[in-house]
């Protein structure tokens, strides 16, 4: 949204999220109030294209418009949820909500005021080697009552993370309010794994099953094809390795000398970023002109 002007970076990052950041919207999908109705089913004179429209399209007379001119999304759904999404190797986005029912239950079980006076903590775990019960808590992030989302700066790429939303009551008791899904952050460099496995996908696998009457759309075909392909691949991998395929090819050799793991990798990322910047610029300027148009450059 464009509502972040004037906010500090930290305010922006930790702002109240639900509902309030959704700007006011004009009526209808299209900005105009004008309606020049066209029939969805009419044929186009002189066209060689079949004029039939989707069977679901409504023929004349047009239906009345029971569609409200504008829809609003709720600020929250009153459900207990904590979700994580990966932004990049070092940042994970979390959004959450705690239902009124759960809040009431906490007040009932732990004394009135337990919720409002308690501290809310986002506790992040590294679960690469197991679930949260095995994982080590990496950090506790204090959350304001009005916050509903957070960008978490995680320490390592290529790791699995999950989080708990924890309430610490005034009496010092910890209550897990919600547990998130697990996410896996991407690698930020070349893999350290250099064992190679090779595979041939043979068309006859497919043809064999198609000949047997299992078309590509048949779930049975898919199931058996996947099973067969997997079996075949595993065989191929071990066979090839056994046949002496070196795990370090020309690129592998370069990499193992560190040629690609340091400066070159950074250069590569820089090049990619430059290209992406250029793409973003072009797209921006492309769309920016529409904005200019609105303001009426002359």
């Amino acid at each position: 949204m464009q509502d972040s002007a004037g906010m500090t970076g930290r305010e922006k990052k930790n702002r109240i999220e639900m509902g309030e950041d959704i700007p006011a919207i004009q009526n209808t999908d299209s900005p105009s109030g004008l309606y020049t109705l066209e029939s969805p089913g009419r044929s186009i004179p002189g066209s060689s294209i079949p004029a039939e429209r989707p069977a679901f399209a409504v023929q004349e007379p047009l239906p009345p418009a029971p569609d409200p001119p504008e829809y609003f999304l709720p600020r929250r759904y009153d459900e207990t949820i904590l979700s994580l999404m990966v932004r990049d190797p070092y940042w994970v986005y979390a959004y959450w909500d705690i239902s009124t029912t759960d809040v009431c239950r906490i007040d009932r079980d732990h004394g009135y005021g337990a919720w409002s006076a308690g501290s809310k903590i986002l506790r992040v775990y590294d679960v690469t080697d197991g679930g949260a019960h095995l994982g080590r808590a990496l950090m506790n992030i204090g959350i304001g009552d009005d916050s509903a989302s957070w960008y978490i700066n995680v320490p390592e790429a290529n790791r699995a993370y999950c989080a708990d939303m924890v309430l610490i009551t005034p009496a010092g008791r910890e209550i897990v309010l919600a547990r998130s899904n697990s996410v896996f952050t991407p690698r930020d460099g070349v893999s350290d794994v250099i064992d190679e496995e090779w595979m041939v996908l043979r068309e006859y696998d497919r043809l064999y099953w198609m000949s047997a009457g299992f078309g590509p759309s048949s779930p049975e075909f898919q199931r058996r094809f996947v099973a067969r392909a997997m079996k075949h691949r595993l065989l191929m991998g071990s066979q090839l390795l056994a046949a002496g395929f070196s795990p370090a090819g020309p690129w592998g050799a370069e990499h193992s000398k560190g040629g690609m793991s340091g400066g070159s990798r950074i250069r590569l990322r820089a090049e990619i970023s430059k290209i992406d910047n250029a793409r973003a610029e072009m797209s921006n300027t492309n769309r920016a002109r529409h904005q200019q148009n609105r303001t009426g450059r002359s």
């Binding site: 949204m1 999220e17 020049t36 186009i44 829809y71 932004r87 989302s149 795990p247």
Partner: protein
């Protein structure tokens, strides 16, 4: 394939526009996106590719058509609107030919635009029967072009996998959409914004997809480490091949500093008579008194100055020829070098947004034409192929898992997940879970209930378009993107309530079917797929 070839170049053009179709009005600015891209990109590209085929040039190129674009190009309402649009353009260009008759520099350009517009209307109506998909299908049948598909509404898949069925629905509907338009199976699948996350390949495999494309680091950071870098594909465990984008060839076209499109001889994008001429003169051809691009532009880039010189078409075409030669030369050297250090023939994968060609870079289609002609007739180092061709030549490839990646700024998800657009995901994920719930609860529904379920799926898919989050990030036309997100989610939510409360309103369903009429063969059961197990 050339016998002496040392490697391969795979040019991939990805064509996509968001689904912008408002049957109730023509009075919205966003409608221009499709109209101007048809004139400036899709028709010129079809012209170039048809010309190559007609001249007997043996080449291969891959073109990805997104399902929303397929839906719009085959939509009679939008086809008629294009005819109306190009007819207005023709009228304006006729006026321009008259107005500029005294100006020896501008007048030939006015004539050029008039000819282009007449040509566009002629081929749109007569050659393609108003449906440009006919042109692409013909090129595929000719053997020159391999058409591939993309996700249903160009959803950015890595931010959807919290609800796996959303990912599989985007892919299933994308593949079905291709089938219904081209009556054949797509071999390849363009991941929107090259957005890959491990696991997506399994869904692609279930739909018979043989390959996809990621950004450079998607393959380079795969594990185990790929022996050939991005110069050979890798197989995911699912059997889907993944090709990585080549940095060098991308940079030559995309880079703001070094890229070809910024050359001073090329046509300037911004100087347009829609802005330059008297408001009353252009009023019938702009948007309700708001100045917009008319597509008639008489100046060249010139330099970093506002004092733009007049465009010289011949000089620009000469420059396109030089740039085509330069690109070819660089690919020859690159592939020669790679071939000398690899024990197999390298493939250089060069994907671009199709809309770059013609729309943004006016001479792009001519550059592509010259590049293909020169590549075929003037060198023997590389052969133009498609990823499918490569997989036929090299059946054996390394098995590795690509890294999560995209070709967006910084290479991951930040373009589609940042402070401008992160608010949408709470709503999108919830709607996705609800759609899965509906599909599981109402298996094999029929009649009105089935129509309501299918429409709910359409509304969810339309809300998931990556374009809305992207537009929110770019900061222009944000209102439209926010409105589209809210309205599709709002309609989904209303349908969900009606369905679960057993009070489906036939008028409401009919209205939405008419208003958001994408995917006529929609089948909501894609949200409750039969599990495919490997046992």
């Amino acid at each position: 394939m050339k016998e002496s070839t040392k490697g391969f170049l795979a040019i991939i053009l990805h064509a996509h526009l968001p689904y912008v179709r408002h049957p109730d009005t023509t009075d919205f600015l966003e409608g221009i996106w499709l109209n101007e891209t048809i004139t400036e990109t899709y028709i010129p590209l079809l012209d170039v590719l048809n010309g190559l085929v007609a001249d007997g040039i043996e080449f291969r190129i891959t073109v990805s058509l997104s399902p929303p674009l397929m839906a719009m190009l085959s939509d009679p309402i939008l086809q008629q609107r294009y005819i109306d649009h190009i007819s207005r353009q023709i009228e304006l260009s006729e006026k321009e030919v008259q107005r500029t008759s005294w100006d020896s520099q501008i007048h030939p350009l006015a004539i050029m635009y008039r000819e282009r517009f007449y040509h566009a209307r002629e081929v749109f109506e007569s050659r393609y029967g108003r449906n440009l998909l006919n042109g692409f299908a013909h090129l595929q049948r000719s053997g020159a072009v391999e058409l591939i598909t993309s996700a249903a509404t160009h959803g950015f898949l890595p931010l959807m996998d919290l609800v796996e069925e959303s990912v599989s629905a985007q892919i299933a509907v994308g593949v079905n959409s291709y089938r219904s338009h081209f009556n054949t199976e797509p071999a390849g699948f363009w991941l929107p914004e090259c957005g890959f996350s491990p696991g997506v390949d399994q869904v692609l495999a279930q739909h018979g997809i043989k390959y996809t494309i990621t950004d450079t680091h998607g393959v380079l950071h795969a594990s185990p480490r790929p022996r050939y870098g991005v110069y050979a594909p890798i197989y995911c465990r699912s059997g889907v091949a993944v090709f990585g984008r080549d940095v060098e060839s991308s940079k030559q076209v995309w880079s703001a500093d070094e890229g070809y499109p910024g050359d001073f001889d090329y046509r300037d994008f911004y100087r347009d008579i829609g802005f330059d001429l008297d408001l009353e003169y252009v009023r019938p051809y702009i948007h309700r008194g708001t100045r917009v691009h008319t597509g008639i532009k008489y100046h060249r880039v010139t330099g970093k100055t506002d004092d733009k010189a007049v465009y010289n078409r011949q000089a620009a075409l000469n420059k396109a020829m030089i740039h085509a030669g330069n690109f070819m030369f660089n690919r020859e050297r690159q592939i020669e070098f790679l071939a000398s250090i690899l024990d197999r023939k390298p493939i250089v994968v060069a994907p671009y947004d199709a809309e770059l060609f013609g729309h943004w870079w006016f001479e792009g289609p001519e550059w592509l034409d010259m590049l293909i002609r020169k590549s075929v007739s003037e060198q023997n180092i590389y052969t133009l192929i498609t990823p499918s061709d490569y997989l036929r030549i090299y059946e054996r490839n390394q098995v590795a898992t690509p890294s999560m990646s995209s070709w967006g700024y910084k290479g991951y998800c930040e373009v589609w997940l940042n402070e401008t657009n992160d608010w949408i995901y709470r709503h999108l994920h919830r709607a996705s879970r609800q759609m899965v719930e509906l599909a599981r609860k109402y298996r094999r529904a029929d009649g009105l209930l089935r129509r309501a379920l299918n429409q709910a799926a359409r509304e969810l898919l339309l809300a998931q378009s990556s374009d809305w989050a992207f537009i929110m990030k770019t900061g222009t036309m944000v209102d439209y993107a926010v409105r589209r997100t809210r309205n599709h989610l709002g309609r989904f939510s209303e349908l969900y309530s009606q369905i679960t409360q057993n009070r489906v309103d036939p008028e409401y369903v009919a209205h939405l079917e008419w208003k958001d009429a994408i995917f006529e063969n929609m089948d909501y059961s894609v949200y409750a797929p039969q599990r495919v197990s490997a046992s």
